[in-house]
Assembly symmetry: C2
Homo-oligomer: 267 residues x 2
């Protein structure tokens, strides 16, 4: 077998386009359904095949129906290919039915040149080796690659176990923690948009464990340096079952590399 990481194997698309084929694996599932970040990553792979810029700068995904493991089709269309931005759309189908629609503008972030003024700051966390593994509750563990589903695809380090993990949600729907893909695969700009939807939802700390994404928008702000990613997640407004979730990813050099917001509905 190959040395390729599960992320690359499982998000690959085949064909010459504009209609690509893909295989949704069960390695990124939560229960019976594929994680939305994983499905988004498959769509971005297809878009990356037809758009002539390397970095998914702005991405919006509308989740219309759940995606399940099995074959899928990803139909891609270029809306505009300009000097600075290339914009396109991907529709993921299973059994001929559209499940997810993604619009994205790609750019070349290495060409970005303009003023910088940052007033936010990176999460302040102890080093990952001094944190706890969210899944085992212990300070270290073997690679989780044998774990089924998405928990085995990620490494997750937290300064303290969240309340929900101990059976008593804190009521504070915000968290800061370390995250990376398991197995040594470094995150690049193609991986960031999916990662914002792969961590534990902030509403777990409100005692709500089932939530479905309606729309997710991600802005990739820089190419990440290698290493652990410092993440910040929060939900401030749960209103009649609908809630936003904001997510930031900072790289190991303390640079903001992705920002996202999603609207989701408790179920």
């Amino acid at each position: 077998m190959s040395d390729q990481h599960a992320f690359d194997v499982d998000t690959a698309v085949a064909g010459a386009g504009p209609n690509f084929s893909a295989t949704i694996t069960d390695r990124w599932s939560i229960g019976p359904h594929a994680n939305g970040g994983y499905v988004l990553s498959v769509c971005l792979q297809a878009l990356g095949r037809v758009l002539d810029k390397p970095d998914p700068l702005a991405v919006s995904a509308f989740y219309q129906r759940p995606v399940v493991p099995g074959p899928a089709e990803v139909c891609v269309e270029t809306a505009r290919s300009g000097r600075r931005l290339a914009t396109g759309e991907a529709r993921l189908l299973q059994g001929g039915q559209e499940l997810v629609r993604v619009v994205a503008s790609f750019a070349d972030l290495s060409q970005a040149a303009g003023p910088t003024a940052v007033s936010g700051s990176a999460p302040v966390l102890p080093p990952p080796q001094d944190c706890l593994d969210l899944f085992s509750g212990e300070q270290s563990r073997d690679s989780g690659l044998e774990t089924p589903g998405i928990a085995g695809r990620l490494e997750y380090r937290t300064p303290r176990l969240p309340g929900w993990r101990q059976g008593s949600p804190s009521g504070q729907a915000r968290a800061e923690f370390w995250l990376r893909l398991a197995g040594g695969r470094q995150a690049d700009t193609m991986a960031l948009p999916g990662l914002v939807d792969m961590a534990v939802p902030a509403v777990f700390e409100l005692g709500h464990y089932h939530s479905t994404t309606i729309e997710l928008s991600v802005h990739v702000r820089a190419r990440p340096a290698p290493g652990w990613l410092a993440c910040r997640v929060s939900t401030s407004y749960l209103i009649e079952g609908y809630h936003e979730e904001d997510f930031e990813i900072w790289d190991s050099t303390g640079q903001l590399v992705a920002q996202s917001r999603q609207l989701a509905l408790l179920s």
Copy 2:
């Protein structure tokens, strides 16, 4: 002439669909180009004609080229019409060229029923009558309806004049203020997604006065009560010319009614 408000006249679409015609007026312009919030509102009017739910719950717009006053075509497609959500796409064209692409999920917010937990709070502002008019710099003025361009379409009240307005940007890219459509037109859920992009950009306080929206996503969280809207705008991350802008709208009863984030590029 009719008593209809400029917002309704200027966002109207004609035809039976799925390809509607519209007239982009110069009443919502900034310089030669139509404001992005206004253009979004035109697209949502077309979507509202084909989707069987009343409230634009989640909206994402990709701005590919500037829109100018004159005739336009809005081509609409229904992606899915489900029990709870109806999702569709609108493409605005001028001269046969696609300029803006919008995907939106509509819902019926009067049917929302679920848990509520809010940790954010509304802007704390003096009453509008004790605030200053941003445009005149005075405490009161006549209706701005005679003013050309978008400034005449809005009423804007601020506790103090922002630094940029006095020639010395504060360096703090955040503001809270009152906003409403001029001429007595109350904001409804169809007006909110445009309004988030009609106020003064937060980066004005960084001394940057020209910025182009790449992607704007809006989540409408509730139907607004009549009256002034309390708004909060902020930009925390200007990185190499790219910046996000977050915008919140709260109604006169202190309820969050819309949240948005856009990615824009200084120009």
